[in-house]
Amino acid sequence: MNNEALHYHFDVDGASFANAGRASVETKKLLRQIGVSPDVIRRISVAMYEGEINMVIHAHGGDADVYITEDTILIQLKDVGPGIRNVEEAMKEGFSTAPENIRALGFGAGMGLPNMKRYSDDMHIDTKVGVGTTIELWYRLK
């Protein structure tokens, strides 16, 4: 990103499910203030929220960074959790390793990664078992 980019950082707390989604709610407020179009905001909101929840339920939290330039928005979600063993499988609708107690909380339907893909212009997953996962969600504004 060039140095004119706006950058916002959020710590995603992996210890508390109750906090999961805070960064996404804050980001949505910021994007509104900046005047990003509602349509783009909605897509970012859904994708980032799913990604943030994943960091909490699968990877003990991590860092969420938002970079905004005139023509792109990048949401970067970075954790040092267990990594994803088989990305192709994880991308399938309905695939989930989430335990029953997570499903009782309303997540773990295996729709997160597919939703993130659907609601971004580009998605990159960089993951290594035992090291962690970084997911980039890209949006073109022009």
Binding site: R22, Y49, L105
Partner: protein
């Protein structure tokens, strides 16, 4: 449909947002799985759910929905209603079970296009209207 009408149809108690009952809602969705709600990006609307955690409210905020109905008389834990209030979300609570609550709103015309008239059975397996 106005939120006040929906509240009446459901015999619902208004837990917060009493000043926003004149707002219009055009569609609704009944689910306990937040990922399913997130998968169906649509017009502003109502979420009916038996789930009562803070993620329900965050899901609404992400989707620009403005009203949640807790079904089966579920009482949300402390902080949920306050969080909804801070963020301008209307919270209703009904004693009705999910199926009946959804059915009543649908029959009253919520989530149906004007030209659709009476409810018809569709065979697409769509279950989020």
């Amino acid at each position: 449909m106005k939120i006040s009408e929906a509240a009446e149809i459901l015999n619902a108690v208004v837990l917060t947002g009493g000043d926003k009952l004149d707002e219009e809602v055009h569609s609704a969705c009944g689910s306990d799985m937040m990922s399913d709600v997130l998968a169906y990006v649509k017009d502003q609307g109502v979420l009916l759910t038996g789930l009562i955690n803070v993620q329900v409210i965050r899901t609404l905020l992400m989707m620009d929905m403005n009203c949640v109905v807790f079904v089966r008389g579920k009482v949300p834990p402390e902080g949920i209603v306050e969080f909804a209030e801070e963020n301008g979300v209307v919270v209703l609570q009904t004693k009705l079970p999910m199926f009946e609550a959804c059915g009543r709103l649908y029959c009253a015309g919520l989530g149906r296009r004007e030209d659709e008239g009476a409810p018809e059975v569709k065979d697409e397996g769509a279950d989020h209207e």
